[in-house]
Structure formats: C-alpha cells, structure tokens
C-alpha cells in the first residue's frame, strides 16, 4: 500500500503543483515581500538608480518569456505523465511504436528560434544602452581601487581620497549628475556590486574598467565585493551615500580640507607618528603618507570601520587599534602590540580626524 502512496501520480501531481507555485512566486513576486521577507536594501528588483532600473525592466521581460515557456513545457510534461500513465487494468500490450515526425521536430525547432531572436534584440539593445553611454556634462569622475579587503575611493578632480564609503550626488533638480567609476585593483580581482544602483563590474589588476551610476534618491546603499578575493571576501562591504546636489557640494568642501590639527591629542599624535602606522596610512597635511592602507584624513566622517564590518564608534575604534585581527581575522593590518596607554592615545588622536 505504501508503495502506491509514493509511486502514484497523485503525489507526483502535488509535487509539480508545489513547484509550479514556487516558480510563480519567482515570476510574479519580484520585488514584493517573498515568504513575508521584505526585499531589503540589496534587492535587485527594487532599483533606485540607473542603470539598475533599466536592467530591471529588461529582466522582467525575460522573466515573463521564461514564465510562459515554463508553464507551457511543464504543463505538457504534467499532462503527458497523467494522460499516458500505465493504468491498473492494462492488458500488457505495447503501445504503438512511433519513431518520430519531421514536421513536429521542425515546429519545435522554429519556435525556440523565434524566441531567441526576440531575446537577442532586447539584450543587445540594453547592453549598448548601458555600456556605451558617454559621460555627459557635469559628470562626477571617481576612481575605485580594490584592495584585500577594502575599497580605496579617489576623486581625481577634487583632490579627495577616502575609503569604503562612496559619496555621490543625486540627479535632482539641478540636472543629471551621473557618477562614472574607473575601476582598478591593487592586488587580486574584486567586483563592485551595489544591487540597487547597478550591476557588477570587476576590478582587475593591470586593467581599467568603467561603470556608471545615476541615482535619483538620497540615501545609503549597500553592496558587497562580488568576486572571491581571499580570506575576508565576505567582509569587503561597500556603501554608497547619495546626497542631494547641494549637500554633496558641502561634503566635498569638508573633505577637501586637510586633517584638523586639534591640540587636545598631542600624545596620541606622537604615538601615531612614532609607530609604523604612517607606513601604511595617509593623513593629508601631515608627514603620514603611506599608501597601503585606507586614507585616514577624515576617518571620523565615515559610518563604519574595517570596510563595513563594525560601526565607527569610539569603542570599536579602540578595539580595532588594539587588535584588528579580533574584528576581521586575516586582514592585512597587524596587531601592533601597543600598550594600553598607546591604544588610548592613538584612539583619541584618530577621533580628532573629523
């Protein structure tokens, strides 16, 4: 009896219907809460910028085509299984032996060819549209350099260098202000992916790639490195902060200043410059000109530490200076074996870098 339960067509049919339902969720539930889960901040179907928006539109067309194909073919499969199942009272004779039919073969060759033709047209148009866009007047030019496991962010025209948090203007009332990103890598291959803004583009050493984003809505957008790049690949997070045009100009002015020379952290400054911190980090306006680690000139203007791993709080900063390996094991900043006092002082100094 149990055999029947497993082997019979009803169980099979139920299984197929369940799967059909799941696929319908893929096809129709795009961007909407799935299983009660809100899409969240990295949902590719909730784009808030070009070219992610255009990609979504193309994707939906493709999804629709695929959904139709699925329903037809899975329907044919299901129908065939039920209609032509071996029945209980069968006389045991063999069914008519059919070897094939050229007309039918031709039909189900031509149909996919037509579908493929449509897909080719849609795809090539979208590729050209996005990839061959020329930077218009007022474009912000940036350079992103991938490092194991953080992002160096440069604004060549503006004399700003920062890390892990890319600030860009929104295209608002003042006209289109897209940002073009020149992508490079200092070590291994990485990939820049902020799903709500654009698809991925790889950062490959000894090569220069180009991508662009044109967000319209101020806010913070999250993303990850999307090409496996070693131990801490998972913890190489990127944030893009989109400002209104005016606010972005204010941010630029702030960032262009040299590091503040506060007087209340002299001991920390001495400790910083006496240790090998300066070999890797730059603080503009001082003798610290290291290039290996992130620029610290305006460290305190950043939301997160260690490429998005922990919030930039005094406590986390202190833990980071004490032993980076505790927060991000394998990262390339070593434990400098500082005394408690040195840690306190350096942390206090870093906090003046507003």
């Amino acid at each position: 009896m149990r055999r029947q339960l497993f082997g019979n067509q009803r169980a099979l049919r139920g299984f197929f219907l369940l799967m059909l339902a799941l696929i319908c969720i893929i096809a129709l539930g795009h961007g909407e809460p799935v299983f009660g889960i809100d899409g969240g901040v990295t949902n590719i179907f909730k784009p808030l910028a070009q070219p992610a928006q255009e990609i979504k539109e193309t994707s939906f067309l493709v999804l629709a085509v695929c959904a139709v194909i699925f329903v037809v073919v899975a329907g044919l499969l299901l129908y065939g299984l039920i209609r032509f199942r071996h029945r209980a009272g069968d006389d045991g004779s063999e069914p008519p032996q059919v070897y094939g039919s050229n007309q039918i073969e031709l039909a189900w060759t031509v149909l996919p060819v037509l579908i493929v033709f449509v897909l080719i047209l849609v795809t090539s148009r979208t590729i050209a549209d996005i990839q061959d866009r020329k930077p218009p007047q007022g474009t912000l030019q940036t350079t992103i350099v991938g490092h194991q496991w953080w992002w160096e962010i440069r604004y060549p025209g503006l004399n700003i260098v920062t890390a892990n948090e890319l600030h860009v203007p929104a295209s608002d009332g003042r006209g289109p202000r897209p940002t073009f990103l020149k992508l490079q890598s200092a070590d291994v291959a990485h990939s820049f992916w902020v799903p709500q803004l654009a698809g991925k583009t790889d950062l490959i050493p000894n090569r220069e790639n180009l991508m662009w984003i044109e967000p319209t809505k101020p806010g913070t957008y999250l993303g990850n490195c999307a090409e496996y790049c070693g131990t801490q690949h998972a913890r190489m997070l990127i944030r893009v902060v989109v400002h209104s045009s005016d606010e972005f100009d204010r941010w630029v002015t702030e960032q262009q200043k040299n590091a503040s020379v506060a007087t209340n952290a002299d001991e920390g400054r001495k400790a910083f410059f006496a240790n090998s911190c300066v070999n890797c980090h730059t603080i503009r306006g001082t003798s610290a000109q290291g290039k290996f680690g992130p620029d610290l000139t305006h460290l305190m203007s950043r939301e997160m530490l260690a490429a998005g791993v922990v919030p930039n709080t005094p406590d986390n900063l202190r833990r980071w200076v004490r032993d980076p390996q505790k927060i991000k094991v394998g990262c390339l900043m070593p434990n400098m074996q500082l005394t408690d006092q040195e840690v306190d002082h350096i942390t206090a100094y870093l906090q003046t870098l507003k």
């Binding site: 039919s101 039918i104 996919p112």
Partner: protein, 557 residues
Amino acid sequence: MATQEITIPVDRALGSSFVDRLHGLVVTVDHKKLGLMYIGTALGFLVVAGLMAVAIRLQLIIPNNTFLEPDVFNRFFTMHGTSMVFLVGMPIIAGFGNYLVPLMIGTRDMAFPRLNAFGYWMFLFGGLLLYFSYLGSPGLAGHGSAPDVGWFAYAPLTSRAFSRGTSTDYWILSLMLTSIGSTVSAINIIATIIALRCPGMKLMRMPLLVWLMLVTNFMILLALPGLSGAQIMLLIDRYLGAHFFDTQAGGSAVIWQHFFWIFGHPEVYILMIPAFACLSEIVPVFSRKPIFGYPIMVGATAMIGLISMSVWAHHMFTVGMTSVGNTFFAISTFLVGIPTGIKIFNWLGTMYGGKIRFDVPMLFCIGFLFQFLIAGLTGVMLAVAPFNWQLTDSYFVVAHFHYTLVGAFLFGIFAGFYYWYPKAVGRMLDRRLGLWHFWLFAIGFHLTFDTEHFAGLLGMPRRIFTYDAGRGWDTLNLIATVGALVQATAVLLLAINIVRSVKKGDPAGNDPWDAWTLEWSTTSPPPDYNFATIPTVRSRRPLWDLKHPEDPDWKYE
C-alpha cells in the same frame, strides 16, 4: 544472442579472500570492474564533498555564525567544487562509459584495456593527492592547508604573492593527474565506439547513450587542454618566474579566465550530456516506446557540443568586455538553448502515447526533466548580459548551476544507478528505499536551491563565509540549510540501499525492465567475456526485434 556458458581459463591464484579480491582490483583491466571502480570511487568523493557542502550550509544557517573559520570555509567551498567536478562528475562519466559502452555495442572489452586501468589509477591518485594537501601542504612555514582559491582559481589570487605555501600547487598537480586520466579514458571510449561495434551496428544504430558518450568524450579531448595549458603556465609563473598571469609585471588576469572557461563551459556540457544519455535510454523503456526523433537527438547533441565551445565568455560578462563582445557571447549562449530545447521536446514526445511506468529510475528522470527545464530557463536569464551583471557571482548563480549539476546531472545519474545496478550486481535495488531516496532528495533539493535563487535576487554574493542580519537573507539561508540536511539523509539511504542490495536484493534476471539494448541480453552480472557469441544487430533495438518477431524495428528504420 545466446547466453550459454563458455569456459574461460581462470587464474586459480585469484581466490575469494579479501586480499585476493583486492589484488584482483589492482591488476584488473576488465572494463566492467574498472567502470564500477570509477563509480564507487566517485561515490566516495561525492560523500566527502557532500559533507563539506553540509558544513558550508551549517556555517550559513544564521548570520554571523562562527561554526567555521573564514579560511576553513574558503577551503571547503574550493574543495567541494573541485571535487564535485573533477572527482565525482568526470569519473562517473568514465565509469558509465566504461561499463556500458562495450556491453551496448556488443563487444568484449574496451579498445585499450591497459590504458583503461592506467586512466583509473591516474584519477584515483590525483584525487588522493588533492586531499593529501590537508596534510602535506602546510610545510615548514605553516602556510596554507588545502587549496582555498575557489574551483576556478582566478589569477592573480593564485600567484605566490597571494597564495603562499603549496596549496595551489596541490590544486594544479592533482587536477593535471586526473586530467591525464580523463584524457586517456576519452581516447579509449572514442576508439572503442569507432572500432569495436558488433556486426550490423552502424553508427546510426547505436543506442543513444553510446552516441552521447562519443560526443562528450570528443568534448573532453577538446576542452581539457585549455585547463591543462593554463595550469602549466601558472606553475611556470609560480616557480620559474614567468609572468603569464602576473599582473604586477604586465601579465593578464583576464587571460586566465578565458583559458579556464574555454575549458570550464564545455565542461558543464561534458557533465550534462552523459545525464542526457541516461535519460535517452531510460525514458523510452519506461514509456514503452522508442526514443522520439533519434537522428534529431544525435544532431542536437552534436550541435550542443559545437555551440558550447563558443560560449565560454558568458562567465565573464563583468570583466569589462566591449559591448560587442558581450553581445556576441549572449547570442551564442541563446543559441545553445535551441538544441537543448529540442532534446527536452523529444523526451516529451517519447513519453506521449506511451504507457509510463513510474519505477524509481523513471521518477528520477521526471525529476530531471522538471529541474532541467528550470535550470535551462534560469540559464536563459543569465545569458541576458545586463541581467547577468546583477545575477552573476550571486546565490542566484549558485542555485542555477546546482540545478543543472544536482537537479539534472545527479538526478540523471541516480536514474542510471537504479536502472543499471541490477545488470552490474544481479540484484535489484530496493524499491521502497529507492522511493524514500527519491522523494527526500527531491524535497531537500528544492528546499535548498529554490530558496538560494531568492537569496541571490536579494543581493547575496556567493562564497561569503558569513553575512549580517537585516538583508532579508536569514530565513532563506535557514531553509537552505535544512534542505541540505534532508538531501544528506537521502544520500545515506542510497548508500544503505546499495550496500544492502548486494546480498539481499531481489534477483534481477537478465532483463528486469523489459528493455531493448544489448546489455540486457547477457546475464546479470555479465560474464568476463560479456557475450558468449558476439551478437549481430539489425536495428537500434535488437531485443525488441527478438521479442517481437512479428513487428521488428528493422522494417521501419
């Protein structure tokens, strides 16, 4: 097709004690034994690499989990991927080819039996060398352990600057050994098919499985040198100071990707075509009809083989190719969908008008058809380059290729296990355990990989050892991990079934499925010499002709 016994002088020194039998395995050049050794070893690696997958899933069950260290996690997914492709997929193909091709074309062994044994031992020692890296690789400086560069080992992560120690060398050398094994096995199968067919078996009368084995082994010969060549260059980079992939001295990281995927994409079809082959034998028998459109199936397979050689850079839509390059590879990828679609329709055409028996092999075939349809459609989505910019390297891709390699390839291979096990062992696999295996595996599979599609759409990148809460990935990952455990249980049932049925299964007889190809005309298991007299065939289904002398196939072909 007489099956009377003939006396063959047997070396009496080979008794039946354990040591004798082991000795028998070591010295054997018999295609059936070697085929089973290939499959058995592959199943062993399947269990090991599968357990790694379970560990990976356990690490991802909740956000910020600390079950595995980052480096351990990275080694696991590297070893999992490398093992599944090179130590499970490739030897299973060689195993099925070895065991079935001579039986199906009515001959007594492979064209080169010794080469055959050599290929198996190359594969086995290559696999053992890969796993030996866990012990041998740390070396005196304690650098590294098993390889942790991912199964496609993108440059320059593999250069000595970023991969210190010898783990990457283990990856290179062990895969080169298994590649030697795969290459000689491919040559052997091709030579056997071309040279040793029984009288009357023209090319267009071969069982489809044999045709598909021919195509897939030609693809192995064409594709593998791309990988081996790149690996040799990498080795020269690492030890002789060359700069092929050394980006700091003007080398190119992208050229490694081209080399790798020139091998890597055909590889996907190299694995898929043998699964197609199993389907093309099993679906007709359980539908009680000949395969629909045999010549079209042969042509479509050859087309897949050809086109799949020109689609490799669809793995590289994000490396910054020109828009023309991206469009070219999008188009070639769409084109490969056409022959693939034709194959699906022909299997459907075979089932239509038949009397479908839902035995375990057929259930796995149905699972294959359903899942391969979805895998194909997500493949179409990935071929749309702009969509691909969002989907690639996300969990959507992970779900897609597991749909092809588990949902389709493994389901097809499992169907083959249940179908040919009686021939190889002489006893049936237990049907009830088989049904449990099928349903648990199907349910676990869908729990894991359906949800991973959604995780990808929600922006989860692949190969991350952990993630923060609040991205909408938590529940999906939990479900995926539960599914992995269900799948592991199902595979355990398969293992129990395989071991138990050797002694306790129902006797199979020569032809338990009432099938039509030559392997079912001899005893189960077949004698050393396969056939007492070499058979003569007049059609694609010699046993149909025998069973239905009033309505033989040769009248219509």
